[in-house]
């Protein structure tokens, strides 16, 4: 079996936003309304002299127990055998229940208007979707299926994003997850996320 997962090493993410741009171009996100499949936050943390600037990339966690899928009444949200949580844009009626259910703010809307904008922006011929509905990160399933890495991983100038198969004991991603060095977000919600983070807090600031 294959279980895809991403590990994000906060120690080398420089907040360059290349992943956002790469994903937008690869997956035709509605940049005109500033919606993305992945975001990189730029946060100020720590007290007094320990103040730190932290870049925090996020995306859909491809939860093993995805509440977005549970609530989806049309079956548009589904999970592939390799764990990737997908949306079938033709089937999605856009009730947005999945967006309400997602604890990670991973989903955004594509409206009729966005489809129109998209035609002008990405080109009539090249626009990948012609029906409105919800959208979110697909782990670049179309690339992964061709043996490629997701677009954001491919271009990550900090090599902060790693992509791999948790079921493959030789995969570095599986190893770092198994070691406990990488942790998922809000695991207590029972979502069983598959995006893991390597903490950057060990360092002196």
């Amino acid at each position: 079996m294959t279980r895809y997962a991403m590990v994000i090493d906060l120690n080398t993410c420089v907040g360059c936003n290349a992943c956002m741009a790469a994903c937008a171009m690869e997956n035709q996100t509605p940049v005109w309304k500033n919606k993305w499949r992945t975001y990189v936050h730029d946060k100020e943390i720590g007290m007094a002299e320990q103040v730190r600037r932290r870049f925090f990339p996020r995306l859909c966690n491809h939860c093993s127990n995805p509440p977005c899928m549970t609530v989806c009444p049309t079956g548009a949200t589904y999970q592939r055998a390799d764990g990737i949580v997908m949306i079938d844009p033709e089937r999605c009626m856009g009730c947005r229940a999945c967006a309400m259910a997602c604890p990670y703010d991973a989903r955004y809307e594509v409206s009729y208007h966005d489809i129109k904008e998209g035609r002008a922006f990405y080109g009539e011929e090249e626009l990948q979707r012609d029906s409105p509905g919800m959208d979110k990160c697909s782990f670049c399933a179309h690339r992964v299926d061709k043996g490629l890495k997701p677009a954001c991983v491919e271009t990550c100038v900090g090599s902060a994003r790693l992509f791999g198969d948790l079921d493959d004991p030789n995969d570095p991603v599986a190893q770092v997850v198994a070691s406990g060095a990488a942790q998922p977000l809000m695991a207590y919600l029972g979502t069983r996320p598959n995006v893991y983070y390597i903490n950057d807090m060990k360092r002196r600031g």
Partner: protein
């Protein structure tokens, strides 16, 4: 590792609050009228009032939802009853089916009554329709299996009311929503608003049969339901105060908001509770206080859903 950002949502806003409100209200209205008709006293005019306004509210609620959809064609997947087998875990699937079938059974239950009502038969298009062979046959069938139809409608009605709570309970990130109290609260509120609505209908529409009896009973039920709602809300208050950051932030939003405190808690619950209490215990000399209480309950019912949608807090770890 986690830093937190707290955020409310702008995905399901007052549109969806209206959907949940009219869905619950319509469903409970139908259930109450049919149960009254079946087990209390047959009451054709009340049934007509209840069925028409109930179906109307459900239709309105469905329209609101439909209008809110991003992709209207794909709604076909949830209208197809098979959705219950394909997506049994999705409450919206159940809810849609409940509402659809509620409207169907609700209408059917009312058909014999319509045929008996001269006013209906005089109506242009509907009047003619009601005179057709098919309508006569259908009306006969429904008449014969009145209780079955009534119970089918009622089950779907209760289902709908419960569903309005279950659907937001299925959003795990928000403590205010993700707890078993929500379906209960929304169901109680749905029935309480429905009683309030029917009280207004009884007082203003005067479907004369058993007026006294019904109003007194409805007032009593509403009082009990309001009291129950207050208890549930009190437990919510305690629940949200600790246990999770999401809940605590919701509590902060709710209990600092005048719309919630004065509008909903005060005018939507406590004032009508007191008015009804006096009505039940001592009685009022005019219908105005009861009508006023009912109007307040109706407004309160919407406010409850509005604030619930509005104050659900997501705690994001970034």
């Amino acid at each position: 590792m986690e830093t937190m950002t707290y955020s409310t949502q702008d995905i399901w806003t007052w549109w969806l609050a209206a959907y949940l409100y009219f869905g619950g209200l319509g469903a409970a209205t139908l259930s109450i009228t049919f149960l009254t008709d079946m087990y209390c006293r047959a009451n054709p005019r009340l049934v007509l009032w209840g069925a028409i306004s109930g179906v109307g509210m459900l239709a309105l609620s469905s329209l609101v939802l439909f209008g809110h959809l991003l992709h209207h064609v794909a709604v076909i997947y949830v209208i197809n009853p098979m959705v219950l087998f394909q997506e049994p875990q999705a409450w919206i699937a159940w809810g849609t089916q409940f509402i659809l079938w509620m409207m169907v059974w609700g209408t059917l239950y009312a058909v014999p009554y319509m045929r008996e009502s001269p006013a209906f038969l005089r109506l242009p298009l509907l009047g003619t329709l009601l005179q057709t062979r098919f309508a006569i046959w259908l009306s006969g069938c429904c008449q014969k299996r009145r209780r079955i139809v009534g119970w089918l409608a009622t089950i779907n009605g209760i289902g709908t009311a419960v569903y309005t709570g279950l659907v937001i309970q299925s959003f795990p990130a928000v403590a205010l929503w993700h707890n078993p109290g929500v379906p209960l609260l929304f169901t109680v509120s749905a029935f309480s608003t429905a009683f309030a609505y029917l009280l207004i209908v009884l007082y203003l529409g005067k479907p004369s049969e058993h007026h006294e009896l019904l109003t007194r009973r409805y007032e009593l039920f509403d009082l009990i339901l309001i009291a129950t709602e207050l208890v549930i809300l009190f437990s919510f208050f305690n629940y949200t105060l600790s246990g999770s950051e999401s809940g605590y932030r919701s509590a902060q939003l709710l209990w600092h908001d005048m719309g919630w405190l004065v509008g909903f808690m005060g005018l939507g619950l406590i004032v009508p509770f007191l008015l009804n209490l006096k009505g039940v215990v001592k009685g009022w000399s005019t219908s105005i206080p009861t009508i006023a209480a009912s109007v307040l309950v109706l407004i309160g019912g919407y406010l409850l859903r509005h604030y619930f949608m509005y104050t659900g807090v997501y705690a994001y770890p970034w």
